[in-house]
């Protein structure tokens, strides 16, 4: 049976459905399904976390009902609208990049772990920074108390970067980078200066940053400045790369924290797309073209409750991105229309019996791979409670390698394309995302999501809804509401290494004493001038980090100029 319409036709919702299948489906429901299931109580509520009902069976008539059109809606991998994949051969010829997010203690301790990860086969390392670094405080700042090296590695100056990558040339793996959401231009400069120190040209290695401050205000919580200047500084990092390192990927616009915080993956994707548009608009206003800017942006989709929604979300996101870039922004190159995706495999991880998180995260990750993600991370099974130990980090990498190489998961492109269920879901999820985007446009875009409380409201409501679904058992969760077990938080949970913190403080003091104070002062003054004049801050920040100015010293200039964000007390 041909499930697709003849090529070239444009279907619409009121097109006649294939009468035989629709009629037969109705007959099957009435004659076969209903009698067999009469009196069988639903064992759960069949609805996705995003609120879509899930039917017992999908047939071609479901596709007809949504006006599905193969050539218009799917096309081919590596071609517009990129639903089936951003790359022509996808995992068959151009496998997803096996990635690790890691960092703890000080640079010295962390360097050893990085070498291990590379030995295990990681192809990309994203450095987990500790909270003081992410929030723009040096390790010796009062706000850094008890946090230095705790949830990530402490980076105060270029000296820490040199130590962190000692014996790991920047071009020895596919990509290196970090999140640095609120300190984007600084971490970009640190990675640029690292290449200089290692004698490796910027064209020979690839730096990936998250550098997405806008989601921090509603989801992740490392915001430093008010949102508007924060977004401008982040876009400076992208603009600098357009000019100096177009092979880098300096911005990854995130759904994940927004979804995890309660928004749901469809509204989370809508908010992230609104954020992406905000950054893009800032860059276009500076005179860059969409064909220059869009290829440097990545998206970071997220869905950790429903396997098939996850696949649908990635496919819908690529289609929406391609259409947005082409139709709304006038992009002309495939690179500017193909949405590259970074994902971080989660499941519904539980605190009890943490080893069960291995299959959970593997299933979650498999969905992303089947959905065609480009860069794939996988959470350590102990990640909900601690910085992953060497063993859990290895299991995470091995799981990715198993998905990439065993079971034939990656032999054909978009293996679930054409599934009645997955295509129906892809269409429905796309609709949810576009509706969310329209709602956001109506209230005034990305800054209004933050300023008018929209983001926080949808997130709190969603988080409360999820909590109720778990408390009531509506959303099954093994060891939590089925076969419940006591949560087990290991004694190693986020246990900072006090020796590492001591080493870090000593190193910072040494670096500050040894550096050329006059050069630091002049470089910081130039950062301040560039900021005041609205010039791209990256060149001056690069000069400052070369002189071993600290992260905190640079951020202090911005705090003084722009003020600090005011935390919301709404809940």
């Amino acid at each position: 049976m041909n499930i697709f319409k003849p090529s070239g036709t444009f279907a619409s919702a009121d097109n006649e459905p294939a009468p035989d299948v629709a009629a037969e489906t109705a007959r099957w429901k009435e004659e076969t399904f209903a009698p067999a299931t009469a009196g069988v109580k639903d064992r759960k509520k069949f609805v996705t976390d995003t609120g879509l009902p899930v039917e017992p069976l999908y047939t071609p008539s479901d596709l007809d009902a949504t006006g599905f059109d193969y050539l218009r809606d799917l096309g081919f991998p590596g071609e517009y609208p990129f639903t089936r994949g951003d790359r022509p051969g996808m995992n068959r010829t151009d496998p997803f990049v096996v990635s690790a997010y890691s960092g703890f203690g000080d640079a010295e301790a962390c360097n050893k772990r990085f070498r291990k990860l590379i030995e295990f086969g990681t192809e990309q390392i994203l450095v987990a920074l500790d909270l003081p670094t992410q929030c723009g405080y040096d390790s010796d700042h009062e706000m850094a108390t008890a946090e230095v090296g705790s949830v990530g590695v402490a980076i105060d100056t270029l000296a820490d970067m040199e130590l962190l990558f000692h014996g790991i040339p920047a071009d020895s793996i596919k990509r290196i980078g970090t999140l640095g959401n609120s300190i984007g231009p600084i971490v970009l400069a640190l990675y640029a200066a690292l290449g200089e120190k290692q004698g490796i040209d910027w064209s020979r290695y690839t730096v990936n940053l998250q550098n997405d401050p806008l989601k921090e205000y509603i989801a992740r919580g490392t915001q430093i400045l008010p949102p508007d200047p924060a977004a401008r500084l982040a876009s400076d990092a992208v603009a600098w790369c357009v000019e100096h390192a177009p092979n880098w990927s300096p911005m990854t616009v995130c759904v994940n924290h927004i979804n995890a915080g309660g928004a749901g993956s469809s509204m989370g994707t809508a908010i992230a797309l609104a954020n992406a548009r905000h950054y893009i608009d800032l860059l276009l206003a500076k005179g860059y073209t969409i064909d220059q800017v869009a290829p440097l942006l990545h998206m970071f989709p997220d869905e950790r409750h429903d396997f098939f929604v996850s696949i649908a979300n990635l496919r819908a996101l690529r289609r929406i991105w391609a259409r947005m870039m082409k139709e709304q922004y006038g992009a002309t190159t495939p690179e500017a229309m193909a949405c590259r995706t970074t994902v971080y495999g989660h499941g519904q991880e539980a605190l009890a019996e943490p080893l069960n998180n291995i299959p959970r995260t593997a299933f979650g990750t498999l969905a992303y791979v089947l959905g065609g993600a480009s860069y794939v991370y996988l959470a350590g099974y102990d990640e909900a409670v601690s910085t992953p130990n060497e063993n859990s980090a290895r299991v995470a990498l091995r799981t990715l390698q198993i998905i990439a190489n065993e079971h034939g998961f990656t032999d054909t492109v978009d293996p679930l394309g054409g599934s009645y269920f997955v295509e129906s879901l892809t269409g429905q999820v796309e609709r949810q995302i576009l509706d969310g985007l329209a709602q956001i446009e109506q209230i005034g875009g990305a800054l209004a999501v933050i300023g008018k409380g929209f983001g926080r409201r949808v997130m709190t409501e969603g988080a409360v809804r999820r909590q109720r679904a778990i408390d009531s058992g509506e959303r099954p969760w093994v060891t939590v509401n089925m076969w419940p077990q006591k949560p087990d938080v290991p004694n190693t949970a986020f246990r900072g290494d006090e020796k590492a913190a001591e080493r870090q403080l000593a190193r910072l003091a040494r670096v500050k004493a040894a550096r050329d104070a006059a050069r630091v002062k002049a470089a910081l003054a130039e950062v301040d001038r560039a900021t005041a004049e609205g010039r791209n801050v990256v060149p001056s920040v690069l000069e400052a980090v070369r002189a071993y100015a600290s992260v905190g010293e640079i951020v202090d200039l911005w705090r003084r100029r722009f003020g600090s964000f005011v935390p919301s007390t709404d809940f």
Partner: protein, 141 residues
């Protein structure tokens, strides 16, 4: 939730300050608990992110709360919570009790309790359990 008529015999509602101390930016849990306690009929104030212990003590005293509920997921609890207790006591607020929630290792729980943290609820605790505890433990006035 099994908490609808808890305030019947109270002349004053239970008042609780939900607090985020330090740099930990994960406040979904804090907000969900805040909302749950509000729904259960309590008076709830949320500090918002990234407060110092001093900020929290000031707010707790000004708002005359019965409880401070601190959410911590970054591992800084061992330093921050005992200090919070000490600062509350110094301000004469010995009667304000501390709850903690989040990711707290088993072996830290007795240590924290010895240093003046009343009760610890790990991530994933049903809201009803927290409500029941507060109702049982808050003296009637």
């Amino acid at each position: 939730m099994s908490v609808s008529n808890l305030e019947v015999s109270r002349t004053r509602k239970i008042r609780i300050l939900i607090a985020k101390i330090g740099l930990d930016g994960h406040d979904v849990g804090a907000r969900v608990v805040a909302r749950g306690l509000l729904d259960a009929g309590m008076e709830v104030i949320y500090t918002g992110l990234r407060r110092t212990n001093e900020d929290v003590v000031r707010a707790a005293v000004e708002e005359d709360v019965d409880w401070v509920g601190v959410s911590i997921l970054s591992g800084a609890h061992r330093v921050l919570l005992p200090r919070l207790r000490a600062l509350l006591d110094e301000s004469g607020a010995n009667d304000i009790r501390i709850l903690a929630g989040g990711i707290i290792p088993q072996e830290d729980i007795p240590v924290l309790q010895a240093k003046g943290v009343d009760k610890i609820f790990l991530s994933g605790t049903p809201i009803a359990e927290i409500v029941d505890y507060l109702v049982k433990e808050t003296p009637h006035v």
